[in-house]
């Protein structure tokens, strides 16, 4: 069957069964490889995308659920030339080791800071609790989010 999706602001028509995991469609049909396949059970967070601004684990959300909602992937936050504030902060804080989890970290942090940039370190740790990182760059990741939060606040107060 044919599904109408809106991904990163662009209307897309894909031919797939409604119960296909959204992740497969994003990666295989739309060639958006920001979201990663990790556990396939919504446990690790590597596949996180935003559905109407809320983080969603795209490996356990069927494509039919994305119909009529705005899908945002890592590619939709910023562009190669103009990274989003959170993406730039992750680069500046050198938060990636192998980088496999970083998609989920950035997407979850982005959603957190869009709701409220007034966060402290505990809030960040709490929000990222269930995004798994095997390399152990947690310290840098939290620093990156705090940096992004500060930049967002500075920007809004400037």
């Amino acid at each position: 069957m044919s599904l109408e999706l809106c991904v990163n602001g662009v209307a897309q028509q894909v031919d797939a069964e409604g119960d296909t995991p959204l992740l497969y469609i994003l990666r295989n049909d739309l060639e958006l490889n920001g979201p990663k396949y990790g556990c396939g059970l919504g446990e690790c967070g590597a596949c996180t995308v935003l559905l109407d601004g809320m983080p969603a684990r795209s490996c356990v959300v069927p494509a039919s659920a994305a119909v009529g909602r705005k899908v945002t992937t890592l590619e939709g936050l910023g562009s190669q030339d103009a990274l989003s504030v959170v993406q730039q902060a992750f680069v500046d804080a050198q938060a990636a080791q192998c980088g496999y989890c970083i998609n989920g970290m950035i997407m979850t942090a982005h959603a957190l800071l869009m709701r409220n940039p007034q966060v402290n370190e505990d809030d960040v740790k709490r929000a990222l609790q269930y995004n798994l990182c095997r390399c152990g760059t947690h310290v840098e990741i939290v620093q990156a989010v705090m940096l992004a939060a500060r930049r967002l606040r500075d920007r809004s107060s400037a």
Partner: protein, 978 residues
């Protein structure tokens, strides 16, 4: 960089406020059970971050998320010191020797326990300035009260609202949030707590001093409750001895009522307002005016005087006198003494005319604003049915200093008419169907439309008598007030029956029907009950006799084949077909009559029963394989008696035992709808049960024994909303089909405690709905509404398994119908949960037995599975909120349930087809967790979150059994519903 985020600004926390169920206000202070020491052992054991806040009788739990706050609240041990009310001495009004004509009037404020709009109130402090977000419709009062409570300047407070209807309980929640936010020094959200399910009855007594010449000297009024708007519940709870009553005069400065003689207001006897009552100032005024204007009519009657003339004798204000005269003449007022004049008339329809007026002086304005309103209502009462029809309403209105505005605006006329009609919510409207409109949820429309829904024939409204009609009539405090008294006076005029309790729904039909009976007219509607009992006794007798005789087959009544027909759809209007669509949605036809991946209603879904597999039939309008050749009579017989068109008996997996409750109108509409739907040629597999169940004629005995073919009988003891809910639950909704236990013959048990006492369907446990199911927190009407409307209650869990498609099907119904079901189901619970020790609402029980959780060794392996597989989505305090809902496991009914089946099933299968995609999805773990891991997980969750319950026994066996069941079901249905 570190200093930047340390500003004290932080994420919102959520708070849950704890109040005694009997918390009340007596006009100056808190009355009710008092909270003693709080046992935090259970809450601490959860290992969650929280704060407990106490100040006087104010107590709240705050935590990073609402789910966490609810969990902690449920785990707290609360000791209440019960409050024994001082027996109030009800004194009758006195004051003169010549007190005459003492009368008592009652006004019932219906509890509105459920609301579709849920939006937290938020409070946020910056130094001494406070920002409140709350929809109270009373921003100025809220700010004034906050200023007084916190002793801060008024200009430091800003109140904002969102675009949802204002709400009384939001007012309380706003101050709650402000108190907690100040203590925590961070923004705090509090969800408004809905009013209790109990109606509030206002009682007002009147007496008069009448001179020896029959002239009215003074009018005595004694209200039954404090006559002021109460401050917020938090203020009352924290006051505790501090200087009190400085908030209460806010609306008190308005005077009410037409100035008859020297009115004298007596002190209310010692009485209180419950903090959770739905009482508003508007209701109090309506009650007061209803009493006074009814009483005025009674005095006029006593004095042998025309009611309008009597009022004109009393009223001095020239503006008022002019209005009264003008309205009476515009309405074609029949001058004369009222009441009884048409009683002797033998005709079926009796007509009457009633008058009432209101005068409100709002002294809070400068200069004081004087508003007059006068109503004349013409009614006709059908003596045989007791139904009251509003024929004409004439409303006049006078406001000082306002210019004449557009008198053509018919909107107000409509609204006034529907307000009046709404007072007459008499019986018999349980089968009225409304289409769900866009934005029904979270809007006021539901309530507005429910006003209109009972409006039978549209009343004619005549508002030509307006004098100085203001630009915005709604802003007038007087306009709608006389409605109830005018209707009551008109009914008195028509029938001689004086209704002293309003709104009239409850007793109107009874009293007026009584009239009908006395007038020896047709009384068929009254004899429903005895007839059904007689029939039942007869059924039993025959059933037993048949069994004894042994001549089973011979005794079976032969059921004829009904001739095939071609239905004439032109007989049915579009409105009937639309009504049928709603009936079908409420009846979940499509859920059972559609196979996985199959065409809608084409049948073929396999249902596992203890007697074998039953396949649903094709109910599309196809002539060969569907029901396209069925006449209405055949359809009606199938629905009510379980007999197919060809005379074969249907198995009661088809819930004709419930559908027999349908009204005729609904049956016709459903037939019209199904016949108008496209025909699908599809022959479902044939149902073949093992002997003896393969003998379909045997069902005749089953029917004699277990089936009562009676349409729903309206219960006049209960509200229209309750009846609507009962009809939906027992009839179309056929809730009992799954939620009532069945006997060995597959019939719903009919013992007194069996009704909706829980059953099993397709291997899923359908929990008891009568309050006997063990839960962490008891279900409220609001919880039921949330669950049925959205598929999710944050206090209980999510609709899954066979319940998900039911909720999806109910989406077609308006909020008012879901409210009705919630109200009805709650009424079943109140009885049962009183006996059930396991079900307890902390806030609903003044004294709650504390069960300290016994130290129990939790499975570490289970915890590991939980942390790895479940916590990312189910942890209430850590992790990011995600798309979909986050069901709280500590509050989940499947973890407190007697059997682990549903928990295991959901872990295995996940939720691939939620009731609504917005609820989110859950992956199934059948292929990734082995039996041992699921056993460990279930045992961990039970031990951690249902410590008050015994551990489940034989978990290994249960997991194996449920896994086998799940696999078998999957092979039947090949992947869930369509």
């Amino acid at each position: 960089m570190n200093a930047v985020y340390d500003t004290g600004d932080s994420m919102d926390w959520a708070a849950v406020v704890i109040r005694a169920a009997d918390a009340a206000w007596d006009g100056s202070r808190y009355v009710g059970s008092e909270l003693g020491p709080v046992d935090e052992a259970g809450a601490l054991a959860l290992g969650l971050e929280y704060r407990l806040i106490r100040d006087g009788q104010f107590c709240a739990v705050a935590a990073p998320s609402r789910e966490a706050a609810l969990q902690i609240h449920a785990a707290l041990g609360l000791h209440w010191r019960p409050y024994t009310p001082v027996p109030s001495t009800v004194s009758t009004p006195s004051g003169a020797d010549t007190t005459a004509l003492q009368r008592k009037y009652r006004w019932r404020v219906h509890a509105d326990p459920v609301s579709s709009a849920t939006m937290p109130c938020r409070a946020y402090w910056q130094g001494t300035s406070l920002t409140l977000r709350a929809n109270t419709g009373r921003d100025a009062e809220l700010a004034a009260e906050a200023a007084a409570v916190f002793d801060i300047p008024l200009d430091g407070i800003s109140v904002t609202g969102a675009d949802i209807p204002p709400d009384q309980s939001s007012y309380d929640a706003a101050i709650d949030a402000a108190i907690v936010a100040r203590m925590l020094q961070r923004p705090v959200q509090v969800w408004p707590c809905r009013e209790s399910d109990l109606d509030t009855v206002l009682t007002i007594r009147h007496a008069a001093n009448v001179g020896s010449d029959g002239r009215l000297l003074s009018l005595l009024t004694q209200p039954g409750q404090p006559e002021v708007l109460r401050p917020s519940a938090a203020t009352i709870c924290t006051l505790a001895g501090r200087e009190a009553v400085r908030f209460q005069q806010i609306e008190n400065e308005r005077r009410l009522g037409a100035d008859y003689a020297r009115s004298q207001l007596l002190q209310a006897p010692l009485s209180t307002i419950r903090l959770d009552s739905a009482l508003t100032m508007t209701a109090q005024r309506a009650a007061q005016l209803f009493a006074q204007e009814s009483y005025a009519d009674e005095l006029a009657q006593e004095a042998g005087c025309d009611p309008v003339q009597w009022r004109l004798q009393q009223v001095q204000d020239p503006a008022g006198r002019a209005l009264l005269e003008q309205v009476a003449s515009a309405a074609g007022w029949r001058t004369g003494i009222r009441g009884g004049n048409t009683l002797a008339d033998g005709s079926e329809t009796r007509r009457g005319q009633g008058f009432a007026c209101a005068h409100v002086i709002d002294e809070s304005r400068d200069p004081a604003l004087s508003a007059w309103a006068a109503w004349v209502v013409d009614v006709s009462v059908d003596a045989s049915t007791g139904s009251v029809k509003l024929d004409k309403i004439t409303v006049g209105h006078h406001l000082d200093d306002l210019l004449i505005a557009d008198a053509e605006d018919s909107r107000w006329g409509q609204e006034l008419a529907s307000a009046a009609q709404n007072l007459l919510q008499a019986g018999g409207t349980h089968d009225l169907w409304l289409t769900r409109k866009d934005g029904d949820q979270a809007s006021s429309e539901g309530r507005l439309r429910s006003d209109l829904m009972t409006a039978g024939p549209a009343p004619i409204t005549d508002t030509t008598a307006r004098i100085g009609a203001p630009a915005a009539l709604s802003s007038s405090p007087a306009l709608g007030l006389p409605a109830a008294a005018a209707v009551a006076n008109a009914i008195y005029d028509a029938t001689g029956i004086r209704l002293r309790e309003a709104p009239f729904g409850r007793d109107l039909s009874d009293e007026v029907l009584q009239l009908g009976l006395d007038g020896n007219t047709d009384s068929s509607s009254r004899s429903g009950r005895p007839k059904s009992q007689a029939r039942r006794a007869w059924a039993w007798a025959l059933g037993i006799a048949g069994g004894l005789a042994g001549a089973v087959i011979a005794a079976v009544p032969w059921r004829p084949v009904m001739a095939p027909v071609t239905p004439d759809l032109s007989l049915y209007s579009a409105a009937a077909i639309e009504r049928g669509r709603l009936v079908a949605a409420a009846s979940d036809c499509v859920v059972c009559h559609t196979a996985a991946g199959g065409e809608k209603n084409a049948g073929g879904l396999a249902m596992d029963t203890p007697f074998g597999t039953i396949y649903s039939t094709n109910i599309t309008s196809d002539r060969e394989t569907g029901i396209g050749a069925w006449s209405f009579a055949a359809f009606d017989r199938a629905m009510r008696q379980g007999i197919s068109r060809d005379g074969r008996h249907l198995y009661p997996a088809f819930p004709y035992t419930s559908f027999a409750k349908f009204s005729d109108g609904d049956m016709q509409a459903l037939y019209a709808y199904l016949m108008s739907e496209p025909a699908v040629a599809a022959k479902p597999p044939e149902t073949k049960l093992a002997f003896p169940f393969s003998m379909r004629p045997m069902m005749a005995y089953w029917n004699l024994l277990f089936h009562e073919n009676e349409p729903y009988a309206y219960n006049t003891e209960q509200s229209a909303l309750w009846n609507r809910g009962a009809y939906l639950v027992q009839g179309p909704g056929h809730c009992m089909a799954c939620h009532s236990p069945r006997n060995a013959m597959g019939a719903e048990k009919n013992g007194p405690s069996d009704f909706l006492a829980g059953g099993v369907v397709d291997g899923w446990v359908a929990p008891a709905l009568n309050g006997s199911a063990p839960t962490t927190v008891a279900w409220t009407a609001q919880d039921t509404f949330d669950y049925l409307r959205t598929g999710f209650s944050d206090r209980h869990g999510v609709a899954a398994g066979p319940m998900a498609p039911v909720v999806a099907s109910l989406q077609a119904l308006p909020d008012s119908d879901i409210q009705a079901m919630a109200v009805y189901l709650s009424s079943l619970r109140t009885d049962a949960s009183a006996q059930s020790a396991t079900a307890s609402t902390p806030a609903a029980e003044p004294s709650r037995a504390i069960m300290p959780p016994e130290p129990r060794v939790l499975s570490l392996a289970g915890q590991n599975v939980y942390e790895g597989a479940c916590a990312a989505c189910h942890d209430a305090t850590r992790g990011s909120p995600m798309f979909g809902v986050r069901p709280s496991l500590p509050l989940n009914t499947n973890i407190t349930a007697d059997e682990p089946d549903n928990l295991i099933r959901i872990v295995l299968e996940g939720i691939a087809q939620p009731a609504d995609p917005a609820l989110g999805y859950m992956p199934g773990f059948a292929d990734t967790l082995n039996d041992k891991q699921i056993v460990e997980l279930a045992s961990y969750l039970r031990g951690k979150y249902a410590a008050q319950r015994d551990p489940w026994n034989n978990l290994e066996e249960s997991v194996q059994r449920v896994r086998a069941e799940s696999e078998r079901h999957a092979s039947h249905t090949q992947g869930g519903r369509p």
